[in-house]
Symmetry: C2
Subunit: 415 residues, 2 copies
């Protein structure tokens, strides 16, 4: 039996046990896991140093190495993250709906764990801890398949978490790491429908695409964001400037950062120069049509792919439009249904945009950067769903649950 | 461009239009569609006669021919079904949740259509009408891929519905039928992620399995039901007999009918003969272990596959167990997570069973036959989900919707 099949089977076997854990037990486990991370700090840092050294030798990018590198303070953050999850309300067992039927049947819809969750992610050891915490809180078993680049860190972290689980009497199979980081091993997860209830890919566009295309296990598709900010004719000048700059530059590497600015020509005629000055001051490189070059000689002519690109960098495509309809057409063609914003003082345009744009989150007069489980008040986030089934937008604990109907009768039979 | 790709693209193009239809407009369309079916009765019956004749010539089973055959009264039922959907509350546009954040952002979670729904089904022309009505009510475009056996009926029905749509000014692409009924054509639907938001297979186990395995478009898995009734030691004798008979015989061909009876040995010792008499009177053929043959010489020795079988017939597997735990173990091994019932007067066993059995619907002292959108009070049903994502159990209108976050700001940017 392969490593993955073995681990998936064991995970399935303990789902019944995990589903019956009380909130108090789960919170205690999370606290013990947090303390264990802090006590094992040295071992984790040593393991991480091996990964970072290997990554550097392999010529990994600075961004990747930065995400990979753990420090004392990052380990504290991970431990605190677990403690915060312990503080959150437990959705499991909640009765969402009660229906009393004319035949006397009482039907209760209850929140239950999904079962076994597979998470495929890239070189971020903090995801190992985050995912373990969120899955445990929701009574799910988790199978983690991280990147080979982070294997030493992940192995040490999971070992530490498993010791903690054992200490509080939980099955250590609640949190398992796939040690085989080959592509073949990952793809074995894709078809384990018998044991896996859902697969969540977290990472770049190509990872997500592969999982969506190949997996027969249900997938929660997360996060590619080609987000747009549309500055309407009536947009407040200061507000438009501040939202555009914030959406693009506050943290360019994340999925809710803006990648294209759509500007109403009449607004541009009056106010574009100040916005261009802001963008230049923030070091933003611009891509646009010929028309943009008349305003900004430093801009680059956009190629077709620029409109579709998730730059994740200080780069921004700029396009002029003549109406809200034009802006929506562009978004329909190139958007990824993540986060889209309109800056406008015209109520009708705002309504058209919010209703007509098909995205997880649509904003009026605010930065797209707020699409985030913490900003939405969920207290946690397992990712941002860009699909329409099950969960859409930032996913908190609830996204890791399913429901079950419990029906209470007194001998009712179907007439 | 293939027929399917062309139809999928056109469906996607009109999703924005469909999403903005008012409840009044949609209800009017449903009424006009209902009347159109009744006016076109003769044409529909003629087309159906061709399918039935072809089916008979091809040696189709009696059950299939029965499902395929339309009559005056069945056409009235289909039309009434549309009128009932018009009466239901419209979930679209509903605000499910409102969050006022400390930074002044107001976040509203709204119910929106899924977009384009593909439905793959077998030789039941009534599904054509049902699905069209439910999808239209929820502002979705539907692409119907019925069986070749029903192609003449489906073509006539969809043509009739499209004329009605046109009459009320709706795009006729709201309801489209795939005329190419080859397997290759169906499988083209599986990967149209760009245009299709969800695929719903309705039909037998092998159809569902193929779609789940092959589709990269998100799937709503419906309905294979290997349902169990567990008669506990303390079960009320009359109640246990009546529930077992009802769950098995009231309509054996449906997914929520019972396929296996699990009987506590102590109950069997005192009461089995009366139950066996009932089952024989209802013409139920029994499959079980050696032990069953001591009670019932007419029973057949069960093979391994009998425990897993969805008979959909007057056949029943019977197994003796010594505890609730034993019963649950059996269900964990062979159940399909559809509907499971315990008949018992022991509160602790009931709690263990309802919590410990992983199924869409778990019953105490009632027949499994109630797992149904109408019985649950949803007023409609697009199928019964046996998966854990998005919707579980009977799916009404809500299962055909997604959500969208609308965020209202006054210039908020991320600090």
């Amino acid at each position: 039996m392969s490593e993955i099949l073995g681990k998936a089977k064991r995970a399935k076997e303990i789902t019944y046990q995990l589903a019956s854990l009380s909130t108090i037990q789960k919170n205690e486990a999370l606290q013990v896991m947090a303390s264990a991370l802090e006590s094992d700090r040295d071992a984790i840092l040593s393991a991480n140093a091996v990964d970072v050294e290997n990554g550097r030798a392999a010529g990994q990018t600075k961004t990747l190495l930065d995400r990979l590198t753990l420090t004392d303070s990052r380990i504290c953050d991970m431990a605190d993250g677990l403690r915060q999850v312990a503080e959150l309300a437990d959705p499991i067992g909640e009765t969402i709906q009660t229906m009393d039927r004319p035949n006397g049947l009482r039907i209760e819809k209850k929140r239950v764990p999904l079962g076994v969750i597979g998470i495929i992610y890239e070189a971020r050891p903090n995801v190992t801890v985050d995912a373990a915490g969120l899955c445990l809180k929701t009574g799910n078993a988790v199978i983690l398949r991280g990147s080979s680049t982070a294997i030493h860190s992940n192995r040490q972290i999971v070992q530490c978490l498993q010791v903690a689980l054992d200490q509080v009497g939980f099955p250590k199979e609640a949190v398992q790491l796939i040690e085989d980081t080959s592509r073949e091993a990952a793809s074995e997860l894709f078809t384990l429908n018998e044991y896996l209830d859902v697969l969540i890919p977290r990472g770049g566009a190509s990872l997500i695409k592969t999982v969506v295309e190949k997996a027969s296990v249900p997938v929660l598709e997360t996060g590619v964001g080609n987000c747009h900010v549309f500055i309407d004719e009536s947009a407040d000048v200061e507000m438009a400037r501040s939202i555009a700059i914030n959406a693009k530059t506050q943290r360019p590497s994340v999925c809710n950062a803006a990648e294209t600015l759509l500007i109403h020509r009449k607004w541009a005629d009056n106010h574009l120069p100040t916005l261009l000055t802001d963008l230049h001051e923030h070091g933003v490189e611009l891509f646009g049509e010929e028309e943009l070059l008349k305003w900004d000689s430093q801009a680059t002519i956009a190629k077709e792919h620029d409109w579709a690109e998730e730059y994740l960098d200080l780069k921004l495509a700029v396009k002029f439009v003549d109406s809200t309809e034009d802006a929506m057409d562009h978004i329909r063609t190139y958007g990824t249904k993540h986060s889209e914003a309109i800056v406008s003082e015209t109520a009708e345009h705002v309504q058209d945009f919010l209703n007509g744009v098909d995205a997880a989150a649509v904003y009026h007069n605010a930065s797209t950067r707020f699409t985030d489980g913490f900003e939405f008040g969920f207290g946690a986030e397992i990712g941002i769903s860009t699909q329409k089934l099950h969960a859409r937008g930032p996913m908190g604990l609830e996204a890791l649950t399913s429901t079950k109907f419990m029906i209470f009768g007194e001998g009712q039979i179907k007439p």
